[in-house]
Structure formats: C-alpha cells, structure tokens
Amino acid sequence: MRFSGLRVLKEGLTGNKGWEPHWRNPEPKPEYDIVLIGGGGHGLATAHYLAKIHGLTNVAVLEKGYLGGGNVGRNTTIVRANYMMPGNSEFYSHSLKLWEGLEEDLNYNVMHSQRGLINLFHSDGQRDAFARRGNRMIAQGDDAELLDTAGVRKLLPYLDYDQTRFPIYGGLYHKRGGTARHDAVAWGFARSASDRGVDLIQQCEVTGIDVEGGVVKGVQTTRGPIRAKKVGMVAAGRSGQVAAMAGLTLPIESHVLQAFVTEGLKPCIDHVISYGMGHFYISQSDKGGLVFGGDLDMYSSYAARGNLPLAEHVAEAAMTLMPMIGHARMLRSWAGIMDMSPDGSFIMDKTDIDGLFVNTGWCYGGFKATPASGHTFAHLLATGNPHPTTAQHRLDRFRTGVGIMDEEATGSQHNLH
C-alpha cells in the first residue's frame, strides 16, 4: 500500500475503507540471521536499513511492549545538527541529511518540519561559545547564523528581552533544525521494514542471551527460544539489563527525563527555542500544544516518571524566558528512561562476544539520531565494520581514553550531564 495525494483523495471519497494495517503481526520463526532486541525508533530504523541497503530481510525485531512505546514516543521531537566535537559533528550532520530525504525514502509523512532552531545566549562569554559552535557547524557543511538581540527580537517578539537577570544577547540560528512527528517516525520505519520482510514481534520480551564458547547463538524469549547468527542490542534505558543477560556490564547509568505539554493553542511559537540560562527548550506541536522540557531529574531511575521539583524548575525557566506562557495551562507531563554515558556521546560497537553488537548511550538526544543510528548500526551488523561516521564511538573508549567526545567539556565521568 503506497501513500499518495490521490490515494488520500480516493479514500476520503469512499469512506476510508481501503486502508490496511501498516505492518504484519507475525509469529516468531525458530531462527533468523539477525535479531534486534528493542522495537523502538533505533531498532526499527536499523531493520529498515538492513533490508533496504544491505538486502538482509531474515531479520526479527523483538519488542517486549508495543512498537515505539519507549523513548521514541516520549521525546520533545527536536531534530538538529548543531554538535561540535569530531565524531558527533559528522554523525549528526549525516543524520540530518537522512531526515531531509526520509519521507520520500519511507513513503510516510513523518511531518518533518525544518522550522529553525534558535539557541539563545545571555552573556559575552556565551556568545563566544556559540560563535565557535556555529563555525564548527559551518565547517561540517551544515548551517548556522549568529543573531544579535534585534535579530532574535524580529523572529521571537514575545520573549522577555529586558529581564535584568538574564538579558538576551542574541541566538545561534540553525535554519535546518526543527521537529518531526515522533510516533510517525517509528511507524514509518516499522511499515517499511515489515513490507520488506522483517518480522516485527511485539509482546516478546527477551529473557536470556545464549552464548556458547564466546559466540552468540540466539535469545530466549517469553515466546520461546529464537536462534540467531547475530544479535543487536538496541534497548536505550534498558541496555544495562539486556547486556547483563550476556554477562556484560556497560558504562551506562539510566536516568529520568521529563517532558511537558500545554493545552492546544493557536499558532504562537514558530520555531524551536532553547534557553541559555537554565535547561529549557520549547516548540509548538501541529496540534497546538506547547511541548517543552528541561534537565534530568539527576538521579538514577527506571520509573519513567519524575518528581515535582524538576517540573517546578522547568516552569520557572519557562516563565523567566516567555512570561506569556503563564496564560497556558499545563496538560500532561511524562518521562523516559535515558541511557546516560560518561562523555554524553553514544556507543555503537561490537562486544567481546562474537556476533553480539551494542547500540546505546544516547543520553537525552536519541530522537534526532534515529535515521543515522539505524543506518550506521545496520552497516555495522551487515559488514562487521563501523560506518565512517561512528568510527569513534567505541565501547572501550573510556578505558583507553582514545576518542572520547566530551561535548560539554565537563570531563568523562558519570553524572556530569
């Protein structure tokens, strides 16, 4: 079933009776070439690219809940390529280019909207830091423009510019940044992978990883054993639990990150905005809700819900930056389980167990990486070698000290992000 304008018109005129389920719901087979543990955005994207680029379709994605029920359905939907460190810079640049062709690639409307991202700054020092970051983005081949106060005021007239505490000095404008409809991204990848022959198996929790003589042989699941030549672990905040089944300990701590949405409003925020004083970022969804978030709660958690002090902190930042938000009522808040790595950058590598691969450590920035994570993890699984844009993202970099990507210049240890 292909989507097109004509098809939408025809279905609209005939009672929308011709639409079909977007993916098959198969029983697990006893054996696959590749099993992916985790049916979130990254796992589904990996399945799509394995099938499309590498022609590997004897693949299963095992999901303990429902497809896209984890962080890909819980984020604030921001897509950008404004990273600075070598290793991250080329990876996120690669990802944004995949985003720009994604809807055509998937024949699926993921509502990718390049509405522009503005990172505000509030001091001379911060301006220098953002000027440097902008130069690094341009050197990578992406776009960045340094705006002064008047430049920002033209785009965002509703901010509080004259606040005495944190006056707005300007912003770094990344025009190709924006948002995408997060669920549709998971669904689009799922549909494409399923159509190409990948089995997406929901309600199937992996309970063990079979290793014999240092070689992976398959997995045990709540729906029976499944043999596999290769196994990819793509479990985000649950990575530690999955890796433990193979006897591995990862350099990952799981933390809780909250997000919030207001009631639906008329269009008022046209861009993605991030505040430079206090961790706060906001955009408006197509449904009209203001979607925003802040910092981690800053303690280890698997609860997928946060505490009120952080909600209060985020609301304070929102009110300081744009007092008009005080008129909106908060509708919902939720949280996800973040796989935090010591240097704030992800890990994509082989493990010491032959045939077992790991994709983790996305911290609180995995959504924008979804296409490239799938693309490069598929490359690693299919060829056994890392894709050029992930060559630095080794599992052992914290032990060796080689290739650490310390994006926030805070050192490489837990609990600094």
């Binding site: 639990q241 701590e253 280890s300 609860a303 505490n307 010591p342 914290f398 837990h414």
Partner: protein, 87 residues
C-alpha cells in the same frame, strides 16, 4: 522524594546532590591496573530495583550519605553516613 539524613532527619531531595552508585566508595589501589579502574570509574551494573547510591547533603549538614533507594518506584529504603559504611 525525601531522604532520611541521619543527622538532619527527612529532608526534601532538592537539598541533596546526587553523585551516583555507591560503588564509588570501593576505590581501587592506585596500581590496580586500567581494567579495575575502568570498572570503578565507568562500568555500572545499573540494575532496576534496590540501589545503593551516594548523596551529599549540600544544603544541609554537608554529610555524604549512602542511600538505598528503589529506582523503579523511587521508594527510599534507608540512609547511613558514608563515613560509617564498613569497607
């Protein structure tokens, strides 16, 4: 979430700074080798459920605590002074 500081009593978690898993208390010998130090600094069991962790009562008495807390429910099970934890 309130943490039971042995010195100050139950206090709001905003008064505390979270350092991470209490494995940080088991500092290896300087010449223990890079694998042991890698494990100490970076590798984390990261198990859901009861979790021993270090909190500093920054906005209170300043003491370091070893708190046992359930990371699935956020239930705080107990807290002792880190200085009194036998190693």
């Amino acid at each position: 979430m309130r943490l039971p500081c042995p010195i100050c009593g139950a206090r709001d978690h905003r008064e505390f700074y979270y350092q991470g898993a209490a494995v940080m208390l088991d500092r290896p010998e300087p010449d223990a080798g890079s694998d042991v130090w890698d494990e100490y600094l970076h590798l984390r069991p990261n198990v859901p459920g009861a979790h021993d962790e270090l909190w500093s009562h920054d906005a209170g008495c300043g003491a370091w605590l070893r708190v046992t807390r359930n990371t699935v429910t956020h239930e705080v099970i107990g807290a002792v002074l880190a200085s009194e934890v036998s190693r």
